[in-house]
Amino acid sequence: MKVYPYRRLTGNVSWRVVSAQLKAEGEPWEDVESKYLSTIERVVALGPNDDRPDWVQARLRLRAELPAKAVNSGDTWQDVRVVAVLTERATNTRTAVELSPVAADGRELTGELYLHRCDLLDRATLAVHVVATVDGVRGRVISTSDVEWFVDVIETAPSLARELDVKLLGFDSGASRLRRFKDSPWVVDTTGRLPAVRVNTDFDGLEGLMGGDGGNGAEKTVRELLLTQMCSDVWTAVFHSAVGDLEIEEDGTPLFPHGWQGEVLRAMLPDVYPDRDPEDALREVHAARMGSSAAGWGELQPRIHFAASKRAGVPRTLSTTIRDLERLTQGDDA
């Protein structure tokens, strides 16, 4: 709970991305089909695909609604403005735009935010703040909407959760660093832009099993189980690599990393420490890792494992698998 030295606006500011347009070099603006905007997932997907130009610039139309008290507050807040800010940590990009009131009552506002393809790598975050003059001080943030949108310039489907990047390749015949894993069915790579699984096609029969999506009931069942197990491996590896490389503030507070590592930690920590808020949980994990807390790093492992397998859906898939196996063997008996 933060304490502010001035009156803040309670109640939420609702807002959304209404529509998007793209512009290719030397071409007019083109509308982005509404299927690329998800109001439920709060993602705009602007990744390249066949029916889309190779765009250089995008334009998002935003709409926000202020609570009534924001505009009739008497003298509490003057010069109330709504500002949308797009940020991407990977490119240190920050773009702010002020929205303008649609009608005289000033409660509904719209605006257009422009972004450039060459400024963005992957996923930018879009947030909305309400700013006012308070006690004579200009530019005070009196409210920040708890709704954030993502602008994704890689994916073509507007989805918050990203598909796991699974690549099939031969370890024995491929890059030298994979050769030492040639007897391993798969390895997890957490050093890239997104976590990835490399599946070893030199492992006899694995390619047929993983590559197909048909097969008989037993093959399907095993494939599901394997995928889930891979996911669980990925989340464990991702968690470890994210906490292994934390930026530490001068006072010893660990900071959430940028990009997907941060997202993963935020998603998993509630399962590692159900009774703590994420910042607190991160401090605890960091302390355990550095050996400066009562709970050692060893004690933490089952919790991390639990959070990873829960995230990967191991319990659900395993119980389905066991049921399927029962059915298959019943079929054999009949």
Binding site: V56, R81, C118, L120, L121, G139, E250
Partner: protein
């Protein structure tokens, strides 16, 4: 000592993080061994373009000249930053999207100029691995490029020289997202240039205060920036096809973007000066309060 790589291809390349790990040997980090450059160039990926700005030799020459410049002038290795940052930025001509690929920087540090990294960052007996492969504010070449990108004022690199001449700005301010707002970055540089802040403790105190204040005050509103345009940058990148090597004497010229609005920068200079006056600086006596 780690030396110039024995194999230097014609073009720069990308060395993904996963591939880079193998070359970060104890022998390299202690400056005793060379990088196995033939092996390294077998696991790189080509740049996604064939522009002239992808040529390797101009970048290699710059790193060598930065070392020569310091040796000739009897300067410390840290003083290479202010000389190299604007020139590296002007030689590479990257978009931010390109600069966000760690593979690009891994290749510069391990494939092009590992000897520079050792020369610049060897302290005690070892260079930290993140000087070769690390975050943008730590990696030896990425930190220079990003310092130039975030502190330049449109086409003017002189604020970059001021920022990079101060190691505390490089170590503290560069990693803070508050400087992604151009007028904020320019105001901070101006306070350094005017010697309002000089010591490391003062830089830390100022940055702490600027950061804390940004939680309740929106600098974008009290000090607006101009709308960002990509055209000047893309034109500048296209010019790389026939541009000369960057001058070793004169400061280069960046993309013809509009500078940060003067009104906004000076408003923040005033505001930050007040913040700094009230900020607790470790070791600074609070003389006003005792009168």
């Amino acid at each position: 000592m780690t030396d110039r790589p024995s194999h230097l291809p014609e073009r720069l390349a990308l060395l993904p993080n996963a591939e880079a790990a193998e070359f970060l040997t104890e022998g390299l980090l202690t400056g005793r061994e060379d990088v196995q450059s033939l092996k390294l160039n077998r696991v790189t990926e080509p740049l996604p373009h064939t522009d002239r700005r992808g040529e390797l030799l101009p970048v290699r020459d710059l790193a060598e000249d930065a070392m020569a410049y310091c040796r000739a002038g009897g300067l410390k290795a840290t003083q290479a930053d202010a000389w190299l940052a604007p020139r590296l930025h002007a030689a590479l001509r990257l978009t931010r999207r390109e600069a966000a690929d760690p593979g690009f920087w891994n290749y510069l540090s391990l494939g092009v100029a590992p000897d520079y990294v050792i020369w610049r960052h060897l302290s005690d007996t070892k260079v930290a691995a993140d000087r070769f492969r690390g975050q943008y504010h730590k990696q030896s070449f990425a930190r220079l490029w990003w310092a130039a990108e975030l502190f330049r004022d449109g086409s003017d690199y002189s604020p970059v020289v001021t920022a990079c001449a101060n190691q505390d700005i490089m170590n503290t301010a560069l990693r803070m997202s508050v400087i992604n707002h151009r007028p904020t970055a320019q105001a901070i540089v101006r306070l350094v240039a005017k010697s309002v802040i000089t010591t490391g403790r003062e830089v830390n105190a100022l940055m702490g205060a600027v950061n804390a204040s940004a939680a309740t005050l929106m600098y974008d509103v009290i000090a607006p920036d101009v709308e960002r345009e990509s055209r000047p940058l893309l034109d500048w990148i296209a010019e790389a096809e026939y541009a000369r090597q960057v001058s070793r004497q004169e400061l280069p010229t960046g993309p013809e973007e509009e500078p940060a609005p003067e009104l906004s920068v000076s408003a923040l200079v005033d505001y930050f000066s007040d913040l700094f006056a009230d900020a607790p600086v470790r070791g600074r006596e609070d003389l006003e309060g005792t009168a």
